[in-house]
């Protein structure tokens, strides 16, 4: 199970990476990209948009399905990974490098999981 120790995880399979400056980067996990299959489109918000914990900030389409991406944090988007808009396959190649949005001064949702808890959660999902 590929889930790095330094990240936090949600039950809806997003990861949260806390940067040194306190901002967080959000993306989907390796497990999620594997379940979705080859991604063909990603829709992201714009810098300056507000995101709310538990609500969708974007969506993605794979050859199998369309899925929302839920925000694990509340805050303001300060950057998006524009590269993904033209190359969503980057998420399939390395989900943890292919962050989607960066949020400044975020309030993290309660109940985020660490790597071990997330790995166990995915195992129970199968």
């Amino acid at each position: 199970m590929n889930c790095p120790e330094n990240l936090k995880y949600t039950k809806s399979h997003e990861f949260v990476e806390t940067l040194e400056n306190g901002n967080v980067r959000i993306g989907i996990t390796d497990y999620a990209q594997n379940e979705l299959g080859d991604l063909v489109f990603v829709n992201l918000p714009q810098a300056g948009d507000e995101v709310t914990a538990g609500e969708a900030f974007g969506d993605m389409e794979s050859v199998k399905a369309v899925a929302d991406v839920l925000s694990p944090v509340t805050g303001t988007v300060c950057a998006i990974n524009e590269e993904l808009l033209d190359a969503p396959q980057k998420i399939n190649e390395n989900a943890y490098e292919a962050w989607m949005i960066e949020v400044e001064s975020p309030e993290l949702e309660d109940g985020l999981m660490d790597a071990a808890a997330y790995a166990a959660f995915c195992e129970s999902e199968k």
Partner: protein, 479 residues
């Protein structure tokens, strides 16, 4: 195979286009084309060969087993086609005076009467072109209803997570906010989640019953009651009506507005272009808002009426009229008892096939199903690496159409089978034997399934490229 443009030879022609029987009209010079149309040039022989070759690459229900779940690929009786090709139907002009098309108007009227009886609705429109258009129209009706009552704060449509993907899409298109609620362990609506979701902002609920897992929700009366008590309306997605036609009626379950896919349940052609028909039926309180024109029966015969509060037109003229001719023909041929028997056999066939496949693969839900069921290949994939996609592709090699794949989303490796009532026991036995052999081959020869199909005109298309960079038209050399 070659595209028709690649077969084109300069100067080749045929005489299939009839001579004009009206005088040529003249156009102002500046509106005239300056170059010729780049139409392919072929002789009749070449043209005939092209389309015959094309037809051999297609696969329809006339070719073999077609268990595409939630699509109801039943056989369409030839008598429907005969009726639809009668000159009195096929050669009409939509702007002809009403007095000259009374028969066609009677078709619309009688089809509405019978379908309202089958669904326990009060009135119906045939304008929407197909299912999702019907959903959109139905939601516009719900919106019009709330707005007329000055209750326009109702902005939310509740959709269960097992719903067809078009439901949330139609609701969003209509300007509503979609609220997703989870299914319970049996695959039905989670009643507590529904109770928590409804409120003063609830415009309505969209539901397929039986749902996409093939489960008839035992709590259906309670579900519609909860929504009504909150002031919302209940929308029935008729995609799965083939399970209950003649046996249970959405109107009796508490639904206020429904759409029917005439091209599914009522045996009119679909897949590969249709055209479809997404008839929308409503209870009395929504009838004033139905699209116009709407056929009414008066003492002087049939007339087209436009109600003052009507939404207006949602499609040109009267919808896909010849599809309604076929559906009416189907219903009159079967009669009430026949329609009841058809849906009973659809359910029987699905359960028979389910039991034949169950020894080799987990079924997503326990117990009896309705007209379709979902195989869950999650464990097979975990053990062998063979996915639902692999098995579906291998079925193509065996000369049958694939089931619906990766749907509903709540089952990860889903294969959804809907055999319909028009398959014989023998066909089901043979199909089950083939699919069971493939499920067993996952353990003995997974490579074969990974590499399938090998016998079809096209192997595995590149789904990603097809979605991201579709080639939708021919590129001429001199462009």
């Amino acid at each position: 195979m070659k595209l028709i443009f690649e077969r084109s030879m300069e100067g080749h022609q045929c005489s299939l286009v009839p001579r004009s029987d009206v005088p040529a009209a003249s156009l102002p010079e500046k509106q005239m084309r300056r170059s010729t149309l780049r139409l392919p040039e072929l002789s009749e022989t070449e043209l005939s060969r092209h389309y015959t070759e094309l037809s051999k690459q297609a696969y329809g229900v006339n070719d073999g087993f077609y268990p595409l779940g939630s699509c109801t690929m039943k056989y369409n009786p030839a008598v429907n086609e005969e009726a639809a090709r009668l000159k009195g139907f096929a050669a009409l002009h939509p702007l002809q005076p009403e007095s000259t098309v009374q028969g066609a108007m009677e078709v619309l009227y009688r089809a509405e009467q019978i379908l309202c009886q089958v669904t326990a609705m009060d009135e119906m429109t045939f304008q929407p072109a197909a299912g999702a258009h019907g959903e959109f129209t139905g939601l516009l009706l719900i919106k019009a209803y709330h707005e007329a009552r000055k209750d326009s704060a109702r902005r939310k449509i509740i959709v269960p997570d097992s719903a067809h993907g078009t439901n949330p899409a139609s609701a969003a298109m209509c300007g509503f906010t979609v609220v997703n609620i989870p299914s319970n362990a049996q695959g039905g609506v989670d009643i507590d989640a529904l109770r928590a979701a409804v409120g003063e902002d609830t415009a309505g609920l969209m539901l397929t019953n039986p749902n996409t897992l093939g489960i008839f929700d035992p709590n259906i009366l309670e579900i519609t009651k909860i929504v009504h008590e909150a002031g919302g309306l209940c929308y029935y997605d008729g995609a799965n009506l083939n399970a209950i036609m003649g046996n249970a009626r959405p109107g009796d379950m508490g639904f206020d507005v429904i759409h029917l896919n005439l091209h599914k349940t009522f045996s009119t052609p679909h897949g590969g272009g249709g055209p479809g028909s997404g008839a929308v039926g409503v209870k009395k309180q929504l009838a004033p808002y139905l699209p116009a024109p709407h056929v009414m029966k008066t003492e002087k015969g049939f007339t087209f009426e436009r109600a003052a509060q009507s939404l207006g037109q949602v499609k040109a003229f009267y919808g896909n009229f010849l599809v309604v001719v076929r559906a009416l023909c189907y219903m009159l041929m079967l009669g009430g008892d026949g329609m009841q028997e058809a849906s009973e056999n659809a359910v029987l066939n699905a359960n028979y096939l389910r039991m034949l496949l169950a020894p080799n693969c987990k079924v997503a839900t326990d117990g009896l199903c309705m007209h379709e069921f979902v195989l869950d290949l999650g464990e097979i994939k975990k053990e062998t690496g063979v996915s639902a996609m692999d098995v579906a592709k291998a079925m193509l090699d065996e000369g049958m159409h694939a089931p619906t794949m990766y749907f509903p989303l709540i089952v990860h490796e889903a294969l959804m089978f809907e055999p319909t009532e028009t398959e014989s026991k023998q066909t089901l036995d043979e199909a089950a034997q083939t699919v069971n052999a493939l499920l067993q081959a996952a353990f003995t020869d997974p490579e074969r399934l990974h590499n399938a199909p090998s016998r079809t005109p096209i192997g595995r298309p590149d789904d990603v490229q097809a979605a991201r960079k579709p080639v939708l038209r021919y590129s001429f050399e001199n462009q």
